[in-house]
Symmetry: C2
Subunit: 149 residues, 2 copies
């Protein structure tokens, strides 16, 4: 078994933090030149937010940066990014996205790849387990978060 990726582990720690807060357990970190520059997790429940998905929360934590900064960023997220988060990745020209898993939810990976973003899916068991546990317990919250009717 390979050593755990410290960046994906940090994204998972954010997801776990969200879970412990009673929220939707999806976490993300932004890595720039080997360093974690921002962390975030979904805050739909905690802040009553429709836009604070884990990836968006990390982008907001990073704050205002010039476009050139994002070109050196890798986004790590525990779950395949939805259309909104994928759109944010495209807006800012983030060139690489590492995804914990996409079995619970398959986001806009094909769109990202079609636009030249490098996408890696790790199929991480810990990411899958946390998400599956949450969806089984709170299907209503989960469907709300992905805009399902």
């Amino acid at each position: 078994m390979s050593a755990p990726d410290p960046y994906l582990a940090a994204a998972l720690a954010e997801a776990q933090r969200g879970y412990d807060e009673g929220g939707i357990p999806i976490g993300a970190v932004l890595v720039h030149e080997g360093r974690i520059v921002a962390r975030g997790h979904n805050r739909r429940v905690q802040q009553g937010s429709a836009i604070r998905h884990g990836e968006m929360d990390a982008l907001e934590a990073l704050g205002r940066r010039p476009g050139s900064f994002y070109r050196g960023v890798t986004l790590y997220t525990t779950l395949s990014p939805c259309a909104m988060c994928s759109g944010a990745i495209l807006l800012y020209g983030i060139p690489r996205v590492v995804i914990g898993e996409h079995r619970s939810f398959l986001g806009e990976e094909a769109l990202l790849q079609a636009r030249g973003v490098a996408v890696e899916v790790r199929d991480d068991a810990a990411c899958r387990t946390l998400m599956a546990r949450f969806i089984a317990r709170h299907p209503d919250l989960w469907h709300e978060d992905i805009g399902d009717v």
Copy 2:
């Protein structure tokens, strides 16, 4: 000349409010069953935000809603929606988007249409004028907002 659209006028009022605050003048409103249910404007400058575009700000102002609610929403925005905002429209299944203008910036209209969203561009002179004035005065802020290097 046709009567001004009250919803687009409300979006433009939001854009003007942002301009008056020293921000990027892009505004949006969400209309549900003929009623404006949320208003928003770009808050990059005002809140140091990377995710509070006008459309996102309106979605956040609306708050948590079931997916079924968004199916009856029309989004009015003064400017063609970027990849992030278009992604949010797709995530929540908003079926119709009315755009003040797309000469200053052409967003992801083709993607929205390809996914079945009805897109109307009004080519509104007041929306164009406000945006052109801002871009001429603050090209740096504008390029930052759309992720340009």
